[in-house]
Amino acid sequence: MPQPPLLAIEHLAVEFRTRSGVVRALENVSFAIARGETVGVVGESGSGKSVTAYAVMRLLDPSARVTSGKIVFGGLDMLAADEATLAEMRGRELAMIFQNPRASLNPIRRVGDQIADVLRRHANLGARAAADRAVALLAEVGIPDPSRRARAYPFELSGGMCQRVGIAIALACRPALLIADEPTTGLDVTTQATIMDLVAELGAARGMATMLITHDLGLATERCDRVVVMHAGHVVEDAPTEALFARPRHPYTARLLAATPRPGVTLAGLSPIPGGLPDLRRDDLPPCRFAARCDRRRDDCLAGPLPLQIEGARRVACRHPL
């Protein structure tokens, strides 16, 4: 009997109120993550991937509003929970690592102390015990000479090391879900690989689920069990990685694949996706937000709500999938 998913996002819609209008950042976003599963959330910048992540953590800007939908994490209704409950969950059951690792650390506090802060908050350790455990965690994430490095400040560490510290903080209390928001985008290629290896290894050892947010479809297909493709605030395709890679069903996924660098294909062999994201402030947004850029568009694509085609483990939001 299948277990209930660890994280279930159902029909989530998020709006931002800005000076120039209301931005419909997310609409009808649904997907789930099972325990121990690694799911990639892929899309161009502006597709709503980070917004989804922040919505799950309930860390959206004050100008954001969740207009409908449900987020259930470990049985808890995240949207209905109060701040105290959420603060208990964050860092302990679900954690996050960020795109700019150094900027995500307190610049004037030693990294060991920052890890210890989280341990004292959630694991109820005393100062001494927390400090020792922080050093142990630094060793676990592969930082050499951890007892000395624990006394370092973020500006003394490289980007890769800062991200390792971030991982140490996130994993300190063994969360069930790690949300990684573009964790390697700001790092050089070699470091990217080692960081991703570290996350995979630690995750596997703890049975931790991971939501990997990235614009790099290649990275997602390499590291994830399943990939969720987002476009302009919609989920357009949600399939196991191999199936998605072998046979994309949504036109956007196909174009993303065609635009992704891979061995054996020269730069000239890549084809960009025409057009750009639609302006999400318009109130006349069509049900399919990709239609304007799609070369398979038919007349009935813009008529009526978008159907969700379910084929086994795959879901596609397209009236005329490939």
Binding site: A87, R90, S104, N106, V118, R121, F155
Partner: protein, 338 residues
């Protein structure tokens, strides 16, 4: 290594100190008019003026005069005040604690309330505290200190009768506590004299409040701005994602970072405060070095004025140095990268 940094900063302050000394020297010797007549005073006769010229060496070339000046400074000779008949240095030393007590108390009020107000305003945008903070920040810069002081005297002394008459550090019935620091609050506390403490505090209330409100505006504005900026930064969001308690987040993570730019503005705040001190001392008949200089100025007694400007310059440079060092102590990035 820390000592090295301190020494480095001290060395950097030396040219500024030198500038202060040179400027105060030039102020009296290199200006239009006859310096001897200045120092002799308006009531001096021709012979007295010539006498002064000889005694002070004002007939010598300028660079020799400067060397003499440096020698005098080294000996602590700042001249004699015509009005009090005392050496200027003695007068200044005797009156300095009064000014120091007042200014420090004013600064303490401004720092405490300003930072608190700025933090609360930043944490609750749009609330009444936020509006109050912004109002005070704008109004505080526009209000002349002497006007605020007089308003306070009118409202709190004349109308409400809560404050005592603005007649100086103590009322007519109290006498100063035994001298230890010259700070009446400290000295009376040390002597266990509750009555004098209360009397001194009552007299201090209005002038310190006047100074405090003046300095509060820039501090509150800076704190609010800095807190707003810090609270929307990446690392605060990351800290929230770790579920840290609100208290830890605001105080240990946000405020410490926000205080850095506030500390850098303290230098400017002090400049205004030391200037406003002079005005407040005049309004409240406070026997400090500010009113000393003002009285001497009106009486055309110039040695005290020169001594006052020199003292304030040296004091200000020293205080800026301390602020600089404090900043280095708080911000590890400056400390380690230096």
């Amino acid at each position: 290594m820390v000592l090295g940094l301190v020494a480095q900063r001290l060395a950097a302050a030396l040219p500024t100190l030198a500038g202060v000394v040179v400027v105060t020297f030039l102020l009296t010797r290199a200006l239009p008019g006859d310096p001897a007549a200045y120092f002799a005073g308006p009531a001096a006769t021709r012979e007295a003026v010539e006498e002064i010229r000889r005694t002070l060496g004002l007939d010598q070339p300028l660079w020799l005069q400067f060397l003499d000046y440096l020698g005098d400074l080294a000996r602590g000779d700042l001249g004699i005040s015509i009005t009090t008949g005392q050496p200027v240095l003695a007068d200044l030393a005797q009156r300095l604690p009064a000014s120091a007590e007042l200014t420090l108390l004013g600064l303490a009020i401004a720092a405490n309330f300003g930072v608190t107000m700025g933090v609360v305003a930043a944490l609750r945008p749009g609330s009444w505290v936020d509006h109050l903070c912004r109002m005070i920040a704008t109004a505080g810069v526009s209000l002349p200190t002497f006007f605020t002081g007089l308003l306070f005297v009118y409202v709190f002394y004349y109308v409400l009768g809560w404050a005592p008459a603005p007649l100086g550090r103590l009322d007519a019935f109290s006498s100063p506590p035994p001298h230890v620091t010259g700070f009446y609050l400290i000295d009376s506390a040390l002597a266990g004299d509750g009555e004098t403490f209360a009397a001194a505090a009552a007299q201090l209330a209005l002038p310190a409040l006047t100074l405090g409100i003046f300095a509060l505006a820039p501090i509150a504005r800076m704190t609010r701005g800095a807190m707003l900026a810090v609270m929307s930064s990446d690392f605060i969001r990351a800290a929230r994602a770790s579920g840290l308690a609100r208290r830890t987040l605001v105080l240990r993570y946000a405020l410490r970072n926000a205080l850095l730019p506030v500390v850098t503005t303290l230098g400017m705040v002090l400049s205004f405060l030391l200037g406003a001190n002079v005005l407040v001392e005049k309004v409240f008949a406070w026997p400090g070095i500010g009113s000393y200089a003002v009285e001497a100025l009106i009486a055309s007694d110039y040695a005290p004025v020169q001594g006052f400007v020199l003292t304030m310059g040296v004091l200000y440079v020293t205080l800026n140095l301390l602020i600089d060092l404090a900043y280095q102590a708080i911000d590890p990035r400056v400390r380690i990268e230096a």
